[in-house]
C-alpha cells in the first residue's frame, strides 16, 4: 500500500537505481552480514517491504539490532527457501490478511525447516519473525512450538518449557475434578 502512495519523482529514479541490485544486505545485532533476495524479503516481511519501499535500505548492511546472527541466518534461509518454493495461492492470500484468513497448515518444506531447529533457536526465530512482521514464518514457528505440547502430560509440558508448577496439591485436584467434564484421555 505504502508503495504507491506519496511517491515523488526523485524517489522513482532512486528506485530504478536500486533495482539494479536484487538482494538486500541485513546486519545482525552482532555485526554479521546476510544477503537476501529483495523480492522474497519484500513479499514475506512487512517491515522489510516498508524499508525497501521507503528507501531506508543500507547497501552496507541494514542494521537489525534486535536480531542475533543465528536467528537472522534462519530468517534469510527461510526467505531464500521460500523464494525457491512455488508459493501456493493460499499462502499469498494468507499473508495479505493474516487477521481474517484461516490458518493454513505448514507445508512440507516449512515443517522440515522448523523441525531441525533447537528449542532456543526456535524461540529466537519467533521473536525475529514477529519483529520483521513475517506473518507466515510467525505462523509456522508458533505452530511448531504448539505441536511440542502434543501428546505430553502437564508435567512433561512444564519440564520442556521450564514452567513452574504454582498449584498446590489441593488446587490441582480441584481443577482435575472440574475437568472431569473435559476430554480426559489418560
Amino acid at each position: 500500500m505504502e508503495v504507491d502512495k506519496g511517491k515523488g519523482e526523485a524517489e522513482e529514479t532512486r528506485k530504478v537505481a536500486e533495482a539494479d541490485r536484487d538482494t538486500v544486505t541485513l546486519k545482525s545485532s552482532d555485526g554479521k552480514l546476510f544477503e537476501v533476495s529483495k523480492e522474497a524479503a519484500a513479499r514475506l516481511s512487512t517491515v522489510l517491504a516498508g524499508m525497501i519501499a521507503g528507501g531506508s535500505i543500507d547497501d552496507n548492511g541494514t542494521d537489525l539490532k534486535q536480531i542475533g546472527s543465528e536467528a537472522l541466518e534462519n530468517v534469510v534461509d527461510y526467505c531464500n527457501k521460500h523464494a525457491n518454493s512455488i508459493p501456493s495461492a493460499a499462502l499469498i492470500s494468507s499473508s495479505i490478511s493474516f487477521n481474517t484468513a484461516p490458518f493454513k497448515e505448514p507445508e512440507e518444506w516449512e515443517r522440515k525447516f522448523v523441525d531441525r531447529l533447537s528449542h532456543d533457536a526456535l524461540f529466537d526465530l519467533v521473536e525475529a519473525a514477529n519483529f520483521l512482521g513475517m506473518e507466515r514464518l510467525l505462523d509456522v514457528t508458533c505452530h511448531k512450538i504448539s505441536e511440542m505440547m502434543k501428546g505430553k502430560s502437564p508435567d512433561q509440558i512444564r519440564e520442556v518449557f521450564n514452567i513452574k508448577n504454582d498449584y498446590t496439591k489441593e488446587e490441582l485436584e480441584e481443577i482435575r475434578q472440574e475437568l472431569a467434564w473435559a476430554f480426559y484421555d489418560d
Partner: protein, 413 residues
C-alpha cells in the same frame, strides 16, 4: 536504525502481535518485570499466546493443569475470541440422544476438526432435568457459536400422556469454552414440543404445549437476547402449533407442524424478525419440506431427500421448489429407524448427515454440480458401550427400542 524504525512502524498494522515500542532483549528481564512468571519462559507473553492458541482443542484440558496463568488464560474470553478471529476455532459435533434401552438421555461429542475423526465420546451426565427417561420435548439451540442451550420440555415420565406433569420454563446452557453448565433466565411460558432457532444471535422459541392438560397449545413466541440476558415476547403466531420441523432461511424462520386446534392438519408459518410478524405460508419452500435441514453460509438450504439422508435436496428460490440436487451418496441404507437421518447440520462449509446409529457423513456441496461429490464418513456407527447394549436390547413393538438422536448441534471453541 532510527531512520529505518520510523518507516517500520506504520507497516506493522497487519501483525496480530504489535511490536513493543521498546523490545527488551532477553527473557530474564521480562520475567522480573510484572512480578509474575512469563507464560512461556523465553517469549514475551503476546507471542506465548500466539503459540498457545494454536494448541488443538482436544488438548486444552492439559494446558489448564500446567500453571495458574495458563488456567486463567484459557478461562478468559480473550483466548477463545482470538482463536475464532484467527480461524483456529475448532467445530465439534454434539448429539443429545435418548438411549434405546431405558430411555435416559445422554450427550456425546465428536471432534471433527483437523483430521480429528475418531469416535463419539460420551460426556458426563446432562443436568438432571434433561438426563432422565422422562425428559421430553425440550428444545436446543446454539448461541454465540459456543453455548449449547437446552430449554423447556417436561420431566414427566408419561410425557404428553397425562395431566399433572407440566412443561418447564427452565433454561440451561453449556459453554464449550468454560466446559461447564450454567443456568440462564427462565422462559416466560412453560413449553414443551416447541421450536427453537437462533437469528442474529438471539434465541427464538415458538409454539408447543404448556402441558398440564386442558387447552395446552401455545400461540406465543419469545426471544432471548443474551446481551440483555432477558426473555421477551414477540408477536403471537398466526396459528397455535406443535412444530415438527423448523429452519432459518433468508433471515426468516420457517416452521411446519400440526395445527393445535385442528390436530390432523399440517400447517406452515414463517416469522420475520424484521417486521415481527407471523404469516401462514403455502409456497414451494414448505410444501416439499418435512425433514431436518441445514443452511450453509451462502444461504442455500439443504434437506434429506430420503429417510436415511443418502440423497439431499436443495431449495431453489427461483423455481420456488425443492429439487433433488446432485448430492447422492449412491449408498442407500434403507429406512429403518437406526438409519434415519436424524439431523442435517452445516459443519465447516459441508453438509453433515447424522443418523440415529450415530454415523456421520459429510459432503462437500460446493463442489461442481454434475461432478461426483465427495462423501466422507466422519465416523461409523458408535461402538460405545451404551450403544452396543442399546442395539442388543430390542424391545419389540416399542418405538424406543433403538437409540434416537434428539438434538444435534455444532459448538466451536
Amino acid at each position: 536504525m532510527p531512520a529505518s524504525k520510523a518507516c517500520v512502524q506504520p507497516s506493522l498494522r497487519a501483525s496480530i502481535h504489535p511490536l513493543k515500542t521498546k523490545a527488551s532483549p532477553r527473557p530474564a528481564n521480562r520475567s522480573r518485570g510484572g512480578g509474575q512468571c512469563p507464560l512461556l519462559p523465553g517469549l514475551p507473553d503476546d507471542l506465548a499466546i500466539a503459540v498457545l492458541i494454536r494448541v488443538p482443542r482436544a488438548d486444552h484440558w492439559k494446558l489448564r493443569l500446567v500453571c495458574r496463568r495458563w488456567h486463567r488464560l484459557l478461562a478468559g474470553n480473550y483466548f477463545y475470541a482470538l482463536r475464532r478471529r484467527l480461524g483456529l476455532a475448532e467445530q465439534w459435533l454434539y448429539a443429545v440422544t435418548r438411549h434405546g434401552h431405558d430411555g435416559h438421555v445422554s450427550w456425546h461429542a465428536l471432534a471433527t476438526s483437523r483430521g480429528g475423526g475418531g469416535a463419539w465420546r460420551t460426556l458426563p451426565p446432562l443436568p438432571p432435568e434433561y438426563a432422565g427417561a422422562g425428559a421430553d420435548g425440550f428444545g436446543s439451540a446454539v448461541l454465540g457459536g459456543c453455548h449449547l442451550y437446552l430449554l423447556g420440555g417436561s420431566t414427566d415420565p408419561r410425557g404428553s400422556g397425562g395431566g399433572g406433569g407440566g412443561a418447564m420454563r427452565r433454561v440451561v446452557f453449556y459453554s464449550a469454552r468454560s466446559n461447564r453448565w450454567h443456568r440462564a433466565p427462565d422462559m416466560l411460558r412453560r413449553r414443551r414440543s416447541f421450536a427453537a432457532c437462533v437469528m442474529n444471535n438471539r434465541l427464538y422459541v415458538a409454539g408447543g404445549e404448556s402441558g398440564g392438560g386442558g387447552a395446552a397449545a401455545l400461540k406465543s413466541a419469545e426471544v432471548f437476547d443474551p446481551a440483555k440476558n432477558r426473555w421477551s415476547f414477540v408477536a403471537e403466531m398466526a396459528v397455535a402449533m406443535v412444530p415438527f420441523v423448523g429452519a432459518v432461511h433468508g433471515g426468516r424462520w420457517y416452521l411446519k407442524g400440526l395445527d393445535a386446534e385442528n390436530q390432523q392438519q399440517v400447517v406452515s408459518q414463517v416469522y420475520s424478525p424484521a417486521t415481527d410478524t407471523w404469516t401462514v405460508v403455502l409456497d414451494g419452500m414448505v410444501t416439499g419440506w418435512r425433514s431436518p435441514s441445514a443452511c450453509l453460509d451462502d444461504g442455500r438450504i439443504f434437506a434429506a431427500d430420503c429417510k436415511d439422508g443418502c440423497r439431499l435436496k436443495v431449495y431453489d428460490e427461483v423455481a420456488d421448489a425443492w429439487a433433488t440436487c446432485f448430492v447422492d451418496s449412491k449408498q442407500h441404507r434403507g429406512s429403518s429407524p437406526a438409519m434415519e437421518a436424524a439431523a442435517i447440520v452445516a459443519l465447516q462449509g459441508r453438509i453433515c448427515v447424522v443418523r440415529n446409529d450415530m454415523s456421520v457423513l459429510a459432503v462437500d456441496v460446493a463442489e461442481g454440480e454434475g461432478k461426483q461429490q465427495r462423501w466422507e464418513t466422519l465416523t461409523g456407527k458408535s461402538h460405545g458401550k451404551g450403544f452396543v447394549t442399546g442395539l442388543l436390547s430390542n424391545l419389540a413393538g416399542r418405538g424406543r427400542a433403538k437409540n434416537r438422536i434428539l438434538h444435534c448441534q455444532v459448538l466451536e471453541a
